[in-house]
């Protein structure tokens, strides 16, 4: 093995000197702690080491096979959204200190704690709740943790979720609930997508820990009966949990205003690139009460003071709850989370400010309404399926065109247009339906291009 650039002690003389200090001739002697009979002796069937140039060329060549949003106009959402990422976000999250830090204490890592506290503070303002936990993997896992909390707080074992929820998200939530709670789905009104309150009432029982709703819903419409749903849940002693897409909170009421007890959501829209769905950020906010905070296994940090006048410091709250201390008695898993994205989210939200987030949300909604209008002019296309307000996503139905969503999307590719997500197998009752998404990134020309491509495809 030649001296490797990432391994300073791979220089033979240095190795010799260190091994001499250890009193061994060969590094192999150090591995006698592994029983000989289980050692792997064949040698790994992998290529041998490569130079930086070789690696770069090889990986770039593979990545070049991807077609990105500069090459295709895409109308995909469904849990990962394309938004503008200000240059400052990338500048800060590529700072090597933030990028390569991990678990240092507040004395060495003050900045990391403060940036995280600021993220928590801004999420707290968006949802208007006082307690925000360490961020977790993504919206689905945060929602799973919220359900666990509700079951532990109430001592009940059932949660109700809308039938309009993303089946993938529901699967994650089920996996996170374990034995703690069973998930039941509440019917929706086919006319407007909203939760069917009669069905909700009939399914609510004294074993219902929580009713979980989403705003905007997975299918794009805005659930407008939140207050009523909250009241119905609370009357039966169940909690109201709300999942949110955070940019919509520039124009939608903060969930605490309509009675939310726990709020979770996806932070990827806050300055984090899509990266094939591989860069997500789950957040969770709740009532600032001990019975809430003691049922989350997530780490919690509080602002505090130091021995020197005027200095800010940070400290962990109720550390004995987390798995690091409680092991199998902890309420959920925690550990390496998504702090770099939380720092990015803090940068993003502080750039936007109160006015900026409102304007952005308005732009998004206007673009969606423009798209809805343009698409509804096309013969045979029904858009949206639900008679409710929509934010950035909406359903597009192709039943009358005698084409499947798959066929439509295949045909659109020829126009370098990526159509919406095919949800016809997720929601068979909605027929041949796709979930389209427009954001502030879509120009009028982009949307017009989609409309004319669709017209062509459906001719």
């Amino acid at each position: 093995m030649p001296v490797h650039p990432y391994i300073p002690n791979s220089v033979p003389e240095i190795k010799k000197e260190m091994l001499r200090a250890l009193g061994v001739k060969d590094a192999e002697e150090l591995f006698t702690v592994i029983p000989e009979e289980i050692k792997f002796r064949k040698g790994l069937n992998l290529p041998s080491s490569a130079s930086e140039y070789e690696v770069r060329r090889h990986v770039e060549q593979i990545l070049s096979k991807n077609r990105n949003s500069g090459e295709i106009v895409s109308f995909l959402g469904g849990g990962c959204w394309s938004h503008y990422v200000p240059a400052v976000c990338d500048e800060i999250n590529s700072r090597s200190e933030f990028l390569t830090a991990y678990t240092g204490d507040v004395y060495s890592d003050l900045g990391r704690y403060q940036a995280l506290f600021e993220f928590q503070s801004m999420i707290g303002e968006l949802v208007e709740m006082d307690a925000v936990t360490f961020p977790t993997y993504d919206w689905p896992t945060a929602a799973g943790d919220a359900l666990r909390m509700a079951a532990l707080i109430t001592g009940r074992h059932e949660v109700l979720v809308p039938k309009t929820i993303s089946p993938d998200r529901l699967s994650v939530m089920g996996n996170f609930c374990g034995n703690l709670a069973k998930i039941k789905q509440v019917e929706y009104d086919r006319q407007n997508g909203r939760m069917n309150l009669e069905d909700l009432k009939s399914k609510l029982s004294t074993d219902t820990a929580a009713v979980y709703i989403e705003n905007p819903s997975y299918l794009g419409f805005i659930e407008t009966q939140c207050r009523e749903i909250g009241e119905i849940a609370h009357e039966k002693g169940a909690l109201l949990l709300v999942g949110v897409e955070p940019l919509s909170l520039g124009i939608l009421a903060p969930p605490s205003e309509y009675g939310a007890d726990i709020v979770c959501g996806e932070g990827q829209p806050l300055g984090v690139h899509m990266s094939y769905g591989g860069a997500s950020l789950g957040f969770l906010a709740c009532r600032d009460e001990e019975r809430y905070l003691s049922t989350t296994g997530h780490r919690l940090i509080s602002i505090t003071r130091t021995k020197r006048e005027g200095e800010w410091g940070f400290t962990y709250v109720l550390p004995e709850r987390s798995m690091y201390a409680a092991r199998d008695k902890s309420a959920s898993i925690t550990g390496t989370g998504t702090i770099l994205w939380a720092i990015t989210g803090a940068v993003y939200l502080s750039l936007l400010g109160p006015k900026g987030i409102q304007e952005l949300a308005e732009t998004i909604m206007k673009n969606s309404y423009y798209a809805i209008k343009r698409l509804s002019e096309i013969n045979g296309v029904s858009v949206p399926l639900f008679d409710s307000p929509h934010f950035e996503e909406f359903t597009v139905n192709f039943d009358k065109t005698r084409k499947t969503v798959r066929e439509v999307n295949e045909a659109l590719m020829k126009f370098r247009v990526q159509g919406g997500k095919d949800i016809s197998s997720e929601f068979p009752e909605l027929g041949n339906t796709a979930l389209y998404c427009t954001t502030e990134l879509h120009t009028r020309e982009d949307i017009d291009k989609l409309a004319s491509a669709l017209e062509e495809v459906l001719k």
Partner: protein, 521 residues
Amino acid sequence: MQETVKGVERELAYTAVAWNEPIIYQLSKPGRRGSMAPRPDKKVEAMVGDVLSKIPEEIRRKRLPNLPELSEPEVVRHYIRLSQQTYGVDSGISVGVGTCTMKYSPKVNEALVRSPKLTDIHPLQHEETVQGALEIMYRLGKWLCEISGMDEFSLQPRAGAHAVLTNAQIIRKYHELNGELDQRNEIITTVLSHPCNGAGPAVAGFKVITLYPDETGIPNLDALKAAVSKHTAGLMITDPYDTGVFDRNIVEYIRIIHEAGGLVAIDQANANSILGRLRIGDVGADLCHFNLHKSFSTPHASSGPGSAPIGVKKELSKFLPVPVVAYDGTKYYLDYDRPHTIGKTAGFYGVIPNIVRAYAWIMSMGADGLMETSEVAVMNNNYLIQKLLKVRGVSLPWSESHPRRLQEARFSLQRMKEETGIGVDGLNRRIVDFGIQRCFPAHEPPIVPEPFTPEPPESNSKEDIDKFAWAIQRISDEAYSNPQIVQEAPHNCAIAKVDYSPSKDPKKWALTWRAYLKKHG
């Protein structure tokens, strides 16, 4: 000799950047803004009109969210200052931070994952348009199979604890399919395994039995035999341990658990010491996981995103989370056709940037470089051990039975604590005064009293290790001669000793600025 010590002392004479940076809300001035959102096109505006009126009053936001108001240069300065008050692997010596494998994250890999060819693709795009991403995922999966001796990998789990939870769900599903889940409701773990090996199976709904080490630092086989019963669903442990001890009983454990009808999942968080030398799949484990942010060099990112792919044997691959990346000979695709899948364990497919970084890192190392990695990591660690054992007040529990350790070692400052009052808390507040990252103590419960667990992976130079050992020696000298300096530490950091009292006091703690203003404003 005297001269060298002076040299080190000079090099470690450190003063942290102390900006006394306010909380961002304190910098806010009404009316300022840091960005302009794109405005809708005029024609769009004219056509759609006042869309906000479509939102019923009761669900519309009435007052703007209280976000800070700053200009772009102010935001940049604020977060640059916060970054300067953060200590990364790139900043200096993180040799003390064991269980975390604080190795160097190559810069070329950062350049690769910032390519718009990766950042700007959506997970639901037509498969033809994401062949590059799928190809790297597929290839990494194959390489991880080769490194672990497993048959198939899922890249979906986001971090170690998440991987352990996912493996517990697979164990559950396996017994469910066999109709034995009601009976097999217990997972056995060991207390020196990472705590997620207890938390993961518990969250998945298992009862957890925890074995304790005997005087040799590992549980004895009788303890395991006593714990095994018809209720045993499986064994979930970390090996090598966070103590750097390799549990030689592993072969026997696996035999005993298999005979009892259970499955074995081995947490490979400490794989850095065995790369190319031991494949846990060959030893007989049914499931495992790697932490890409540890052994495979992806940056720790201030505590995530990490990434922790899970590997399983053929018989269990039908339970893997969907989708799995597959290849039909001409193109890569997402395979959802697994009728017995546990479903999804998180959204989409995994932490893609880290998957690309790990792929690039393995390629740069190659088979020979992986062997060199584990060799130098283990050499570094044993070199550090012999240095630290010369320091007054420091001991290495179980050193009689395990004098040599793999990637890390768990020391005790118990004697120093008894003799001087200075324990690991003091050590950690003082060592940062020398510009060295603090040490990882240990996970609970305190099996080793006053523990600290350094780990010097292969990217540390001999000089780094020498300096780290020098600092430990120096703090020991201070503890025995002038303990006050340690008690009152830190002295050279951005802030002084913090008031920990909000930690347990609901009236004092404030997890957000709004809560702080309510409680203390």
